[in-house]
């Protein structure tokens, strides 16, 4: 599809194909509380990613034998709408979607105090309406905000962002084109206050030095995302007060 030779993933001034600098995030917009029926929800636009997340729970588990006596079960479904990709996606869950559902769940779980809800289940439904590079990170960001919106007891938010390599440069927040044509893509999720990594994957080639640089950069990206997540939650829960203050 793309002719590598004709592409400048990065120009002589360090500008990337979409005009960003090396350490620049794509534009991010998070809205909280977008799905009326859900216990918590969020919508994120992260570059061209458009993702909606709904949280149901804590609620009764069916079938009952799946319940755990000492803590809550967390379930997560990452799913792409058929119209979300360049060529139409078959709506049946792919192996990729199964894996991403798993790592998303595992990246969210350390942030939740599941022992507060024994015998219950929390369901996180992540629907990718439009997919760009980094949809799993975008989905985690929205999911963590939606879990907060659902009032689940949490240790921290989870903030996610990828970093990667384009030739010799380690850059922040890989987009679709950079994912396909670049040299490495490393999605990371992070608990900003507990300073812990809850998602880490890598496709591509890195020296060990590049690896730690890349991880560091991804974490710095997570910290930036964290601010946007907090803002989105503030806006929903203290929106009126903030406006009042601004007026005052």
């Amino acid at each position: 599809m793309y002719n590598l030779k004709e592409l400048a993933l990065m120009d002589e001034n360090g500008k990337r194909s979409d005009g960003r600098g090396m350490d620049e995030l794509r534009s991010i917009k998070i809205t909280v509380g977008v799905v009326k029926n859900a216990d918590g929800s969020a919508y994120i636009e992260f570059g061209k990613n458009k993702i909606i997340v709904a949280v149901y729970g804590p609620r009764e588990v069916h079938p009952k034998h799946m319940a755990l006596p000492d803590r809550c079960v967390l379930r997560c479904r990452y799913h792409m709408s058929p119209f979300s990709t360049d060529t139409r996606k078959n709506p049946a869950p792919s192996r990729r979607e199964v894996e991403i559902s798993k790592v998303m769940r595992e990246s969210l779980e350390p942030s939740l105090i599941l022992s507060d809800y024994p015998r219950a289940v929390i369901d996180v439904f992540v629907e990718v309406l439009q997919a760009d590079g980094g949809s799993r990170c975008a989905g985690i960001n929205a999911a963590s905000v939606a879990l907060a919106d659902a009032g689940i007891n949490m240790r921290d938010l989870v903030s996610a962002c990828a970093a990667g390599r384009l030739s010799d440069n380690i850059v922040l927040d890989i987009n679709d084109l950079e994912d396909k044509e670049g040299d490495a893509d490393m999605p990371v999720a992070y608990l900003p206050n507990l300073e812990q990594v809850t998602l880490l994957q890598l496709d591509g080639k890195l020296t060990t030095a590049q690896f730690s640089e890349c991880l560091e950069k991804a974490i710095s990206g997570c910290k930036s995302v964290y601010e946007i997540q907090k803002e989105a939650l503030m806006k929903k829960y203290f929106g009126n007060e903030m406006e009042l203050k601004e007026e005052a």
Partner: protein
């Protein structure tokens, strides 16, 4: 479990009684009169990667439709027509009662009734979507995702599909050396008419348009009628387990035509 189910039965009966009392005073629980639709918003072009897309909010019901255009073989028996393929998924985001998984009979009925309105009205002129007769045609996928469910999914989905198709830009494909080539250019789709569905439920003797989930929980029967721009009826589907009298149906057909025209104008405006 049995006792909790029995109490559910009692709750249901109470709810229905309450609903019937309200309706007997010509009032719906949300204050609408029987023939009013809820607030209604359409946003189009929301998915850049699709050839067309639309998000419809009908009250709290929210649906996204996306159109993808590819090429493929025609259907058997329809060798000289483009292929139209419609699907709908009620996402598990939509309500606490949806299980993720392949579409159940309600979702299948939903997509087939919406499909019928588009297909029977010949909204999309499929004769114009042929590349090599009998061999290669345009394949138009219309996929719908129900994001939040608060009743009348059928009309909301139908409007989303109509709006997405109306505002689509189809890729222009050409045949070179028996191979399909995407020219990179686009064209408006070959639209001939605008089918609009109107749905009502009967609760006791009352017939209400655009039911909410609460109303659907009390309904005896449902009916959906789709009219095209010239007012002709192109699709009907009675749903749910209760019956209708002949007169109720004939009266509703008149309402569906008039209300359909009203909604058609609104959707045209919004685009």
């Amino acid at each position: 479990m049995s006792s909790s189910k029995r109490s559910t039965v009692i709750v249901e009966q109470l709810r229905k009684q309450q609903m019937l009392e309200a309706l007997s005073r010509e009032k719906r629980l949300d204050g609408r009169d029987f023939e009013s639709y809820r607030n209604f918003e359409i946003e189009v072009g929301i998915i850049d990667k699709a050839s067309g897309s639309a998000k419809v909010k009908l009250g709290n019901t929210e649906v996204i439709a996306g159109v993808k255009v590819e090429t493929g073989e025609p259907f058997e028996g329809l060798e000289n027509k483009g292929a139209l393929i419609m699907s709908a998924e009620v996402l598990p985001t939509a309500s606490p009662h949806v299980e993720p998984g392949p579409p159940d009979e309600d979702a299948i009925e939903l997509s087939r009734v919406v499909d019928r309105g588009i297909r029977e009205s010949e909204m999309l002129d499929l004769d114009k979507l042929v590349l090599i007769p009998g061999k290669i045609v345009y394949t138009v996928f219309v996929d719908c995702s129900i994001i939040n469910s608060d009743g009348n999914l059928l009309d909301a989905t139908s409007y989303a599909v109509v709006a997405a198709l109306l505002t689509s830009k189809f890729p222009i494909y050409e045949i070179k050396d028996e191979q399909v080539v995407d020219t990179g250019k686009t064209m408006p789709p070959p639209i001939t008419t605008m089918p609009i569905s109107i749905t009502a439920v009967r609760i006791g003797e009352s017939v209400l348009l655009d039911p909410t989930t609460e109303e659907e929980a009390c309904m005896d029967a449902r009916i959906t009628m789709t009219t095209q721009s010239d007012g002709n009826i192109v699709a009907v589907q009675k749903g749910f387990t209760g019956p209708f009298f002949f007169n109720q149906i004939v009266q509703f057909s008149e309402i569906a035509r008039i209300k359909g025209e009203e909604m058609r104008s609104k959707i045209k405006e919004l685009n």
